[in-house]
Symmetry: C2
DNA sequence: TAGTGGTCTAGACCACCCT
DNA sequence: GGGTGGTCTAGACCACTAC
């Protein structure tokens, strides 16, 4: 037997996963190459095919290999890395930094939304929506400004909630489950009122998050979060 | 038998996954509640426990439920949503928008990096690194400005590569496999030279990506990408 | 200590789809 | 056609940890 193909009896899927990743990283299997089939690898590692399958599926999920029935498994040419990051509720994000959390409602009114918001929420022009503007603080420092529209049809009960206690962010997460949504990151210049709210200078570059969430076809809420200067989104690859 | 607990003989893990998600979304199992054990659900669905396990593991991976041995499975109180987005190579990102890709090297020199870069690359102060400054275009429009430092110890062969043909971005992805890295998003103001490069106005808010990649303990490259105005990172939840 | 989730096995059937 | 990955099953053992 080829010494490189000894039955090493690696038997946990994590160990196999690590070993396969090593072979990919050391270019033992180069981009574009075919990997051995699950059956062959199972024989090499002296384990069940399901175990190899679990390890390889994990690699496929992270975008390192491409698997197709009959065609086999090949190393992706341009390893498109897939980054995953958590979207915590704002209170937890602030507390995780070791700061005390507080928030303040700047305005709350039931009003006709502008056309763009009405469009994303799927509301006809004549329907009112709940418009909330809040500021979240980390200790005494402004952390993020929230401009939120809530679809009253999707979440009728929010009208009776005291949002000064629980933030809208947290209340919605807990009471208005969503099935899917869209999340957008961009940069924006601070205009004068925004700068004053966030304790920034006019013209500062701020990170902006736009988020829309749906429960099936029904839009729940559309929110724009504008973070104070220095905010960064960090993730590991 | 309770009509709601009929053995419906759902037998694929996807179907079970969907059904469980429905129950979560309809608050049949509310945040903080315990879910039935795998064994119980397997009985309900008339399938093997492994099938239920696969469905529930998927839910746990996306952060909807929390599973612990002996403790059981419970609905997460604040469903921290986990977003995943792809990090394509720049050429593909541009081409995916239907634009023609090109790039231009602004400068390329082997030089002593500034302390911050030397620190992140783990280089001693006396070692030189390859400093590359490039501009990528979508059709004729500046798309992103790349300021990159490459660790010559990790990637010695890059010295002989004609980076005017293949971009450093693409060459590195294909030839310098990395095991892990860090990815940071922030916002920055365009200074005058940057504004001119990116066809922006001085003071514009720009989205900035900082990325460091490693092969085991060895840093490969540290890069800052500054995108032209209007660039957004979009992902679905 | 008992019950839960995590995992492995050996076997099986099937959907897909290509050199 | 035939080989590949995708999945399910029934059973088993184990690690963890709440009680």
């Amino acid at each position: 037997m080829d010494p490189g193909e000894q039955k090493t009896a690696i038997s946990t899927w994590q160990a196999i996963h690590t070993e396969l990743r090593r072979r990919l990283s050391e270019r033992i299997w180069a981009p574009g190459d075919y990997l051995p089939s699950e059956t062959q690898l199972a024989a090499e590692f002296s384990c069940a095919r399901a175990t190899v399958n679990r390890a390889m599926r994990e690699l496929a999920d992270s975008g390192l290999i491409d698997r197709r029935r009959k065609a086999g498994t090949r190393v992706v040419k341009n390893p498109v890395r897939r980054a995953t990051f958590d979207i915590p509720i704002i209170r937890e994000e602030i507390e995780r930094r070791g700061a005390r959390w507080s928030h303040q409602i700047l305005s709350r009114q039931l009003t006709r939304p502008p056309p763009t918001i009405a469009g994303t929420l799927g509301l006809s022009r004549s329907v009112s929506a709940l418009h909330l503007r809040s500021l979240y603080y980390a200790d005494r420092n402004p952390f993020v400004y929230e401009d939120r529209w809530i679809n009253p049809i999707a979440v009728p009960t929010i009208a009776n909630v005291d949002l000064a206690q629980v933030s809208a962010n947290e209340w919605l997460v807990q009471h208005a489950p969503f099935t899917h949504g869209e999340y957008t990151l961009s940069a924006a210049k601070a205009d004068a009122p925004l700068a004053e709210l966030l304790n920034a200078a006019t013209g500062d570059a701020l990170l902006v998050v736009d988020r829309i969430t749906f429960n099936e076809a029904l839009a729940i809420t559309s929110v724009r979060l504008t973070y104070a200067p220095g905010y960064r989104v960090v993730t590991t690859l």
